[in-house]
Amino acid sequence: MFNRSYVWSYHLMLLPGIIFLILFSIIPMFGILIAFQDYQPTLGLFHSDWVGLENFSYMFSLPDSKLILVNTLVIAIMKIIAGLIVPFLFALLLHEVVSVKFKRTIQTIVYLPHFMSWVILSGVMINILSLDGIINHIIQLFGFEPIMFLQSNHWFRPIVVASDVWKEFGFSTVIYIAALASVNANLYEAAAIDGANRFGRLLYVTIPSLLPTVILLATLSLGNVLNAGFEQILNLYNPIVYQTGDIIDTYVYRAGLLETQYGLATAVGLLKSVVSFLLITLSYTLASRFANYRIF
């Protein structure tokens, strides 16, 4: 029930966080104006020339902009989907394990790759995928021709997605495990009394209790639809796979554009933010209308 004095406490609780957000998030947003300027540091934000949407049109006039946009979207979407499904399935499997020790060991192990940077991991991967690496040894064992994975436009995207999942799934699993840990144990008892078998409990108790978390993570991950993983691709790609692997961030990086063209850099950032915001709002609306579930 509504209580006025409670509301004051609520405002007070939010106050410190809001202050920090204003200081470090809202104030720097004056910089968004740079996207519409030919920004010159010595002139500053208020005296640089206004150029309207020129930075945006330049962005789309680049000869490869279409290819790069497609690569970015394809890789990012594949990553989002795989990054949702794999941890979910893994958490379900882990949930079935009775031995606490085994459970904890596995959980610890799978999340370790999260702590290795792509600089290190890419070295390991190039090693494993090389002509005399383990994978090709196995392939040859079965009598197939060795494959140069990282020089193949056929293989590059799957490798990028798979290795990203490999690095991050253990970490996302943590959220599901925390969610599972909060499931009311009575529900399982009730299901057991109703005669549900193992599969039934999975279907009628475990999965439904995870669904809100899945929807939440799915929505939030839409914010990454234009982030295909700069560090990873930078460390794995080479000119032969530009066709399938060159993304917005790597292109802009190579161009050194961010160094010199502040307007363009800000425009790219703004475009990403707007797209993320639209997608998240859309999925928020859909979730609340059709699943009657409010994420925020």
Binding site: Q40, P41, T42, G44, L62, P63, D64, G123, I126, S130, L131, D132, M148, L150, Q151, N238, P239, I240, Y242, Q243, D246, Y251, R254, A255, G256, L257, E259, T260, Y262
Partner: protein, 562 residues
């Protein structure tokens, strides 16, 4: 008489050893004054300076009251300072501070190149640049255009030591210093890129001997050696684990390791450089028919397995690993690859690497494009209170780096501390810094006499002598000897023929469209080499390159050289 001749030679060439030279040598007077000045550090010594006008104030004059200078620096990776000293607090720095009564305040110091550029860009963008920093060409131009830099024209004349001026004037037509000039005014002190950073052909001599092959000279020899090294088990371990010629995905590049420049150059092709053709038109080296020919050759070699199949995915350290573990025995790399190769010799004392000026073309020439004269610039903020301090610090610093001032010779003696721990990391040297010392080494080895050597050469000569007496015993000495002496000599070989480009640096469209054009070029070239695209894609590349900005760039280049 012999000793006299040698000392004269040293005076002329090294131009910084005071001990050996008579004062009647005209060439010496400037340096002597500098050195005398450094010893006393007082005002009256500067009376003998080359510029009498600067009676009370010159390169080495100490400030009466301490001044503070702020500095942005790229740090020293793997710094090896002893006793808890740091980049921001060490004896080299203190030496400069004490001689000039200057206090250096480091605004920032980061090691990685990208991180440093990031910092510089942030200070530029937020208008908070320190008094002094070293920037790249683009940053330099941007700063100058924005009017953020102090004009160094007069300051340079008055406050730089004769040695600094000599370094710059060793480059013909003032071509290094000119890169720091904009509209006739000096806004930045450029670094100097010394001669000789083109790729040599490095081969394992012990493998050649084992397989009864001669040291390669022509491209046919190179092919034969690469084939033999790959297929005939040169390491004799019974496993087909060796690779042919190493490669790098950057394809070509001045000073690059494992790049294919020599194969292009052999065909009279010079990718990424600008030339005039016979009819006087500006031509981009990557688009010539000769380049197509070289690509066809490379593609053939790749197909035949003479080039490492996986060079595209190998990083620098992967290739270095192939070398040190004895899986590669033929590669292109500059003279300073000597240090990298020494890892192999350390692991396998039988390994014998020889540098060759090759492969040579039909006329027996190894054509090379000389390095761009400079790449980085020391700039001083317009708001700096004492812009001249930059030049004074540089002058004092180089007396220390080159061990001209006896006091500086004692600092960190024999500790191998990097000179980068001096406050200003601007690299200056004579154009022929590498080749000019070779006769000195020859002489020392012949006479086994280290008398009359300038102090700065002693560590190197020690290494060379040590390795001469007991080859490969001390790997560090071996590496020094291989790089400075053996390979250094090859950089001056008679086969070397310089092909001077008409333009270095970048134009406006290059900055704007460069990423596209580079992508197009690298992608096409690598696809052709690895057989993913037919050689005729080259013609398509040329057309696209021209229409998507190449022609504009060519016009700008033509404009800029008028």
């Amino acid at each position: 008489m012999k000793a006299k001749a040698l000392s004269l030679l040293l005076c002329a060439s090294v131009a910084m050893s005071l001990t050996a030279c008579g004062s009647n040598n005209a060439d010496e007077s400037g340096n002597q004054a500098a050195a005398a000045n450094s010893e006393t550090g007082s005002n009256d010594a500067s009376a003998t300076n080359t510029e009498p006008a600067a009676k009370d104030d010159g390169p080495f004059t100490k400030y009466d009251e301490q001044i503070t200078v702020s500095l942005g620096r790229q740090g020293v990776s793997g710094n090896n300072l002893p006793d808890g000293d740091t980049l921001e607090n060490n004896k080299f720095l203190k030496y400069v501070e004490d001689r000039l009564n200057v206090k250096v305040k480091y605004e920032f110091s980061v090691e990685d190149m990208d991180a440093y550029n990031q910092k510089v860009n942030l200070t530029i963008a937020s208008s908070t640049i320190p008094d002094i920093m070293v920037v790249n060409e683009q940053q330099f131009k941007r700063l100058a255009k924005a009017g953020s830099l102090a004009d160094l024209t007069d300051i340079y004349e008055k406050y730089s030591s004769p040695l600094i001026k000599e370094y710059y004037s060793s480059y013909s037509d003032d071509r290094v210093l000119n890169t720091g000039r904009i509209d006739g005014k000096l806004y930045g002190l450029p670094n100097t890129n010394i001669d000789g950073s083109y790729q040599l052909l490095w081969v394992r001599k012990d493998w050649l001997d084992k397989l009864n092959l001669k040291v390669p000279s022509s491209i046919e020899d190179v092919k034969a050696v690469a084939k033999a090294f790959k297929e005939q088990d040169p390491d004799g371990n019974g496993k087909p684990d060796t690779v042919g010629l190493l490669g790098d995905k950057s394809i070509v590049g001045d000073g690059g390791f494992f790049t294919f420049d020599p194969i292009f150059n052999l065909n009279h092709s010079y990718p990424k450089s600008w030339f005039k053709d016979d009819s006087g038109n500006v031509v981009y080296g990557s688009t010539t028919p000769e380049t197509k020919q070289a690509l066809a050759q490379l593609s053939e070699m790749y197909k035949d397995g003479l080039i490492d199949k996986e060079f595209l995915t190998r990083k620098w350290e992967d290739n270095a690993g192939l070398v040190s573990s004895g899986r590669a025995g033929i590669l292109f790399a500059p003279w300073f690859a000597g240090w990298m190769l020494s890892d192999n010799v350390k692991a396998d004392p039988n390994a014998e690497w020889v540098p060759v000026a090759g492969p040579v073309d039909g006329e027996g020439k190894r054509n090379v494009v000389p390095s761009a004269p400079s790449g980085t610039f020391l700039v001083v903020s317009k708001n700096a209170e004492h812009p001249e301090a930059a030049l004074k610090m540089l002058s004092v610093e180089y007396e220390g780096i080159r061990l001209i001032d006896p006091a500086s010779q004692e600092i960190y003696k024999d500790k191998g501390v990097s000179w980068l721990n001096y406050p200003l990391n601007l690299q200056l040297d004579f154009q022929d810094a590498l080749a000019r010392d070779i006769p000195v080494y020859d002489k020392v080895l012949q006479d086994n006499d280290m008398k009359d050597l300038p102090a700065r050469l002693i560590p190197r000569v020690n290494s060379i002598l040590k390795n001469h007496k007991e080859p490969k015993k001390d790997i560090a000495a071996f590496a020094d000897s291989l790089a400075f002496y053996v390979a250094g000599a090859v950089t001056g070989a008679k086969e070397i023929a310089k092909v001077n480009p008409i333009f270095y640096g970048s134009t406006e469209t290059m900055v704007k469209r460069g990423a596209n054009l580079d992508k197009l070029e690298n992608e096409t070239f690598l696809r052709i080499i690895t057989g993913a695209a037919p050689i005729d894609d080259f013609d398509k590349f040329v057309t696209t390159w021209k229409s998507t900005g190449g022609d504009t760039v060519a016009k700008e280049v033509e404009e800029s050289i008028k």
